[in-house]
Symmetry: C2
Subunit: 290 residues, 2 copies
Amino acid sequence: MEPVNRIEAALETAFARIETPSGPPKLAAAMRHAVFGAGQRIRPRLCLAVAMACGDDMPAVTDSAAAAVEVLHCASLVHDDMPCFDNADVRRGKPTVHKVYGEPLAVLTGDALIVLAFQTLARGVAMAPERMGRLVDVVAAAIGAPAGLCAGQAWESEPDVDLAEYHRAKTGVLFAAATEAGGAAAGHADPAAWRILGARLGEGYQVADDLRDVAADPERLGKPRGQDAALGRPNAVAALGVEGAIARLKGLVQEAVESIPQCPGRDALQAHILEETRRFVPKELARQAA
Amino acid sequence: MEPVNRIEAALETAFARIETPSGPPKLAAAMRHAVFGAGQRIRPRLCLAVAMACGDDMPAVTDSAAAAVEVLHCASLVHDDMPCFDNADVRRGKPTVHKVYGEPLAVLTGDALIVLAFQTLARGVAMAPERMGRLVDVVAAAIGAPAGLCAGQAWESEPDVDLAEYHRAKTGVLFAAATEAGGAAAGHADPAAWRILGARLGEGYQVADDLRDVAADPERLGKPRGQDAALGRPNAVAALGVEGAIARLKGLVQEAVESIPQCPGRDALQAHILEETRRFVPKELARQAA
């Protein structure tokens, strides 16, 4: 099965358990709205790619890890889009969850998605309980306190901090968890060695996002352009210029590729990463980046 | 160690992992505000009591299960108190999290507490991975979709439903998870058999809460009196009268006690439950209930 189909199948498996006639229909619909659609599945693809490079000896475990990472990412977007945070109306070209279902259901959707991520992990890893502790721990650390996505967002409520650093950290932490979880799911001897790959790619993705924010067609972007400047957020293009940001992105991808630990599929994974990261750059700038 | 001290110690152990100097201080403070203070710890006490009746052969596993159940309960209170739900200013005699820390941190506090619950489970069960799948599953089902606390709250966004039933279910589901988790943590052969005990006690607790809502001293109650009527919520006292509600409570406790599965500590647990549930009834009505 193609990786992208495998991820959709894993997400559908996770959702099958919650979409029962006995549950509240709007909550299930809002959860589906948050997870299915135009998402690029970059984090779970990365998780899968690492697990496959390590041999992928238990595909059900890999699938559950990849699905958990994506579900947590989507949960964080639902809450981040709410009026008390970014107050975003549009995400991935669709109205945001609170715009369609209201604020109460947006809170509950994020909560229930966090829970679903751990449920998915627990069920997927039932056959390999010795891998579960590490997987739950990796995934939980990436979203909770003191250093996960929630913590990253919470820094915005602190006075006198360098928000630029925390914005970078917010993206990097889930990418690093995706690669570590891929290693852990496939039974790699040292899953933490995979974190640098994810961290560098996360940082690269953030630079690419900054490039898209200034350069991409708003329709393909799925949200208004120029939001970073409007919200006073740090932006690599503002700091380095377009060419400087593209050079930075290339450097990060190179560091990522070189960091890949020894494993049976190292060469193929390096080629895969170089191929995937080409998509990071918006079409409008692809010639400059080539 | 006394059960109540053991639970506080388990919660402190869970918090020690997130209260590091590197994390955002307000998030950590808000999480502590939500979990420590005047809580009665009824659910984790119940979890502990069941595990002890089953032999409590792995106390670290029991502790992590009890702490996880309480942390999830507190997470649900933080979000339920928010303006888009109950808009409550006071909880357990203290201002609610969003009143002290603002709405963004209230959302993040609930999220990070849900994550902390699973993190606590994962670390506590590291020595007994074969018990972890069941424990994560039990705890996740009690809070997520389609039938946990989030789902119970989501029914309020549906037209044409019998909210009374869902309000009852919301309380019952976490009590049932507390007893099942206690059995699972101690390696009982059939943890699901412990659910009836929790479900009946949860229902009894809800009746007792209704009694407190009309009868108790607001200062001891820790929140304004008469809120059910003000919010148009179903209330056992309105439906059955004070004496009828007390009789119903006694009936539920009796059913709970009789449902206790065979286990080494069955007699002691029955006595313990009868003793504990005496506290359910507000002091003002204790003579009537005797």
